[in-house]
């Protein structure tokens, strides 16, 4: 689907809410991990092509965070450290055309435009909770495609063990990159099996609309069981590598931000409570669940690992 078509076919927020209720129902009946891994296809009542949603529920019902909130509360340090200022600063950031480079230990390295990518991999809808390490959370209906689709098409070599993601290096257009207190560009990484997990997506849209620049346009990672900063925005390069890659926040404060950074209430952070979180728009704090409530689907990835040591 072309970006323009996506834009025309905006799904009303109300429809999202009704679908959300359906999903909540499915969730309470109890989804087995296997079924979830297959993906649930909801009725095609919306404009987005193939709307597959993967969600497990928390005991307190999850309600979609309004679009306006998602687009005006952004941790995007390339623009500003002030979450409220990013939307204004990013308004003129050019995200089209945009080329994504695939490099490293792959059979078919090269560059591909994001608009071609979006044609090759039709957008599915994924409603995910997003848990920021700062102790707040949202529920976001993303549009995107599973990263493993792209990885299998480019042919990952056996020697590859990790995936490294790199954000833009463009201080002329990204005011925050003029600060010497950070190691630019933003980099992130996943273990190959994490990257290949079906919950891991490359998102290109939000609420059935093209992703706005402040939310990481034109293409960003979403890994719902990890703290939000793992979900790197505005990706320019995906590289398959043999060794664990350096990551932005780990470079800045290794004691606080580990490579894995799985949502884990049992690993305290020096500043924010990880036992509870504030869902944006709510007054009372909510309990935080291990793997952000996606344990059924992802816990097996870490079998036998000490998650306190590998935070």
């Amino acid at each position: 689907m072309k970006p323009d078509d996506l834009h025309k076919e905006i799904t009303p927020e109300k429809l999202y809410f009704s679908r959300r209720k359906f999903l909540a129902l499915v969730g309470t009946v109890g989804l087995s991990a296997a079924l979830v891994a297959c993906g649930i296809t909801t009725t095609p009542d919306t404009g987005t092509a193939s709307t597959g949603s993967l969600v497990t529920d928390t005991p307190v019902p999850d309600i979609l965070t309004p679009l306006d909130t998602i687009t005006h509360y952004n941790n995007f340090y390339e623009f500003s450290t002030d979450k409220g200022s990013v939307a204004d600063l990013a308004v003129n950031y050019k995200t089209e055309p945009w080329t994504l480079e695939i490099a490293g230990l792959v059979e078919h390295p090269g560059k591909i435009s994001v608009s071609d990518l979006m044609k090759t991999y039709p957008a599915e809808e994924r409603i995910y909770r997003l848990r920021c390490v700062e102790g707040w959370s949202m529920v976001i209906p993303w549009n995107g495609f599973a990263l493993h689709k792209l990885l299998s098409d480019v042919g990952v070599k056996d020697s590859a063990k990790y995936v490294k993601f790199t954000g833009p290096d463009d201080p002329a257009n990204l005011p925050g990159q003029n600060s010497a207190f950070y190691t630019w560009p933003y980099t992130e990484g996943l273990r190959l099996d994490e990257a290949n997990h079906d919950l891991t997506i490359l998102a290109t849209g939000l609420y059935g609309k093209i992703l706005p620049p402040q939310d990481g346009a034109p293409i960003r990672l979403v890994v719902p069981w990890k703290y939000g900063f793992k979900s790197i925005k505005s990706i320019v390069k995906i590289e398959l590598v043999a060794d664990q890659p350096p990551t932005f926040w780990n470079l800045l404060a290794p004691d606080e931000y580990g490579f894995y950074s799985n949502v884990n209430p049992n690993v305290p952070h020096p500043r924010w409570s990880q036992a509870t979180e504030r869902r944006i728009g709510e007054l009372k704090r909510r309990q935080t669940y291990i793997f952000n409530g996606y344990g059924e689907q992802v816990a097996y990835l870490y079998d036998g690992m000490d998650l306190v040591k590998n935070y």
Partner: protein, 208 residues
Amino acid sequence: MNRVKTKLFPQWLIHLAALTPLLWLAGVFLIDGWGINPIQYLEKRSGDYALVLLLASLACTPLRFITNSARFTQFRKPLGLYAFAYAALHLLLFVGLDYGFTWDEIIPLVLNKTYLWFGLAAFVLLLLLAVTSTQGWQRRLKKNWQRLHTLVYLTGGLVVLHFALSIKGNIFKLSGEVFWPLISMIVLSILLLIRLKPIRSALRRLHR
């Protein structure tokens, strides 16, 4: 000559300056309800105001040295008390609004987060200084009152540390959101350094 200059700073201006943040917060509330994460916004702002007012209170004595006018000494106490008031609001917002007085969560939180130790210690000291700030206590404690109130220097250090450790990044490696904590550290250092004897007497000589 200095008397004329300091007349520009009447006492009521101090009260106005210290209360302006509340008016500002009220205005912001009317415009956008304190944004998308209002509790975090209020926590951050109340902390900022407490820090700024404490630094302002600590600036009074250096200003006296520099201007050779005793007028500034009179601002020390109200500014310090306002700093305490904002700090109390800051703590109340954290305990009450953010964590809803859920002590079983708050107590472990305070125990395992270093930045909260510094913040809490600073608050206890501010409370002690505020309570003993009256003339009655000044009389009662005599010489010890002044000794007790030198604790404000320690309080300043604790507040700045609390701030520096509350940011995302690492203050010791100068990485992350360190800009404002760094500025406040520098300002505090200058304000304390000016009190050192050699600098003080040099300033005194200037006024002779």
